[in-house]
Amino acid sequence: MNSPHPGNPPAGPAPHGATPQHAPPWGVVRRRLIPCLDVDQGRVVKGVRFNALRDAGDPVEVGRRYAAAGADELFFLDISASHQARKTMLHVVERLAEEVFIPLSVGGGVATVDDIRATLRAGADKVAINSAAVADPTLIERAAQCFGNQCIVVAIDARARGDGGWEIFTHGGRRPTGLDAVAWAQRAVQLGAGELLVTSMDRDGTRTGFDVALLRAVRSVVDCPIVASGGVGELGHLLEGLKEGGADAVLAASIFHFGEYSIPEAKAFLARHGIVVRL
């Protein structure tokens, strides 16, 4: 950055008379690629493999590798249920925050403002809430007032209803709520969600791609960033979520964990297809 780099801001002339010379365009927020790690009792589960390297399952080690590979953020989903395991997760977050200097999101079992506070104090930047927010929507409002909208992610697990709409499910997709997913998304943002993590429970784990219609329906009612999740099996799915679904970020687990694709490969693919990413 010793000399101003050229660029073309989308509105008005480029600063200081710089002329546009290369893609990507200057001053465009990059679409984000977010690896998701399931953590149980302080260990990464499902297994993660970086090329020939086998990982020991230490979330800090895995997080460091993904950050070095160019991940834009990291998402850690705590799938353990016990109170004791939550403390273990907080220790993991503390260690991560000492070594990994990109945004860290943590979700799974977050039930109260105190849980959110403890997770942020440990070093998380964003906390995702799901079942507890559905049970008591004022949690979103209280959390946003305490910590600011930008660190409150509302995770939405939705299933297609068969009438063209989607229903919210909680407790890991097991419990129907009768709530309309699009209406809930809108309400969550009005209450103070700074970002929505939208997961299609129909697609999660199927490797058949995002539910693009769901993403578009949510996109049409909220102006906050949307993270698409659930169903990625190939790089083309990431592109669909961003381009057709209008998501600001895409979350994926297995395609990265098993070494099928690296983060740089995924970003290069997206860039070739006209998506502005951080390379």
Binding site: P4, H16, W26, V29, A97, P103, N149, Q150, E195, A249
Partner: protein, 218 residues
């Protein structure tokens, strides 16, 4: 790194202003990473801030509530007095607080140490908050604060209100639909809208540059 509630010895070299809002821990950990061996304290005590050689004013959330918290703790008066006297780094809301006014929630006054106003992004089709990695173009890239940074380095932003690009202290520009001030520099005050503590190696370098920065006496 030492916390305000821990026993400490020696000089407080870097004090991170704790006024009960947002996530101060990320910035504390990043400062500890770039300044190993330095005493770093999170504190809301005006007396401890007064001892510090450098101040960091972080923050996320709403300007009006942040100012209310600062004044409830007597920190508004302390900061107006202390900030002009030592190298200070403002981050995100901590940058915005240095200014006169934000249109947030019907209007809120800041500390008023720098001239300029903030307003909300309102470009149709662009997400608010502005969240993610984006370009930062320094006006004076040769300044010590920007040294050692890769050309085209990106920084991580999360904010809904932005500083008008025409504010006199603006030292770097970014854009999200509209150009805005993403860094400001005036005498011993340096402040950034983005989060250097979350911007990977470029962000850490910027923090390291701040720790080593010796502004000319004003």
């Amino acid at each position: 790194m030492e916390r305000a509630d821990s026993v400490h010895q020696g000089d407080v070299v870097i004090a991170i202003v704790d006024y009960g809002m947002g996530n101060l821990h990320s910035i504390a950990k990043a400062m500890a990473h770039v300044a190993p061996g330095e005493t770093i304290r999170l504190t809301g005590e005006p007396a401890v801030l007064a001892e510090a050689r450098r101040l960091v004013l972080p923050g996320v959330g709403a300007m009006g509530e942040a100012m209310a918290e600062l004044s409830r703790r007597g920190l508004d008066v302390a900061l107006r007095q202390l900030i002009p006297q030592r190298p200070t780094l403002g981050v995100c809301l901590g940058m915005q607080l240095l200014f006169e006014y934000s249109s947030e929630h019907g209007g809120a006054a800041g500390l008023g140490l720098l001239a300029g106003k903030l307003r909300r992004f309102a470009t149709p089709g662009l997400a608010v908050p502005h969240m993610g990695w984006n370009d930062v173009q320094p006006k004076h890239g040769e300044h010590p604060l920007w040294q050692g940074m890769e050309q085209g380095a990106l920084f991580y932003f999360v904010h809904s209100y932005f500083l008008e690009a025409s504010a006199p202290a603006v030292a770097a520009l970014s854009a999200h639909g509209t150009p805005f001030g993403s860094a400001v520099l005036q005498n011993n005050i340096f402040a950034v809208q983005f989060h250097p503590e979350k911007s990977g190696p470029a962000g850490l370098r910027l923090l390291q540059n701040f720790v080593q920065w010796q502004p000319a006496p004003s």
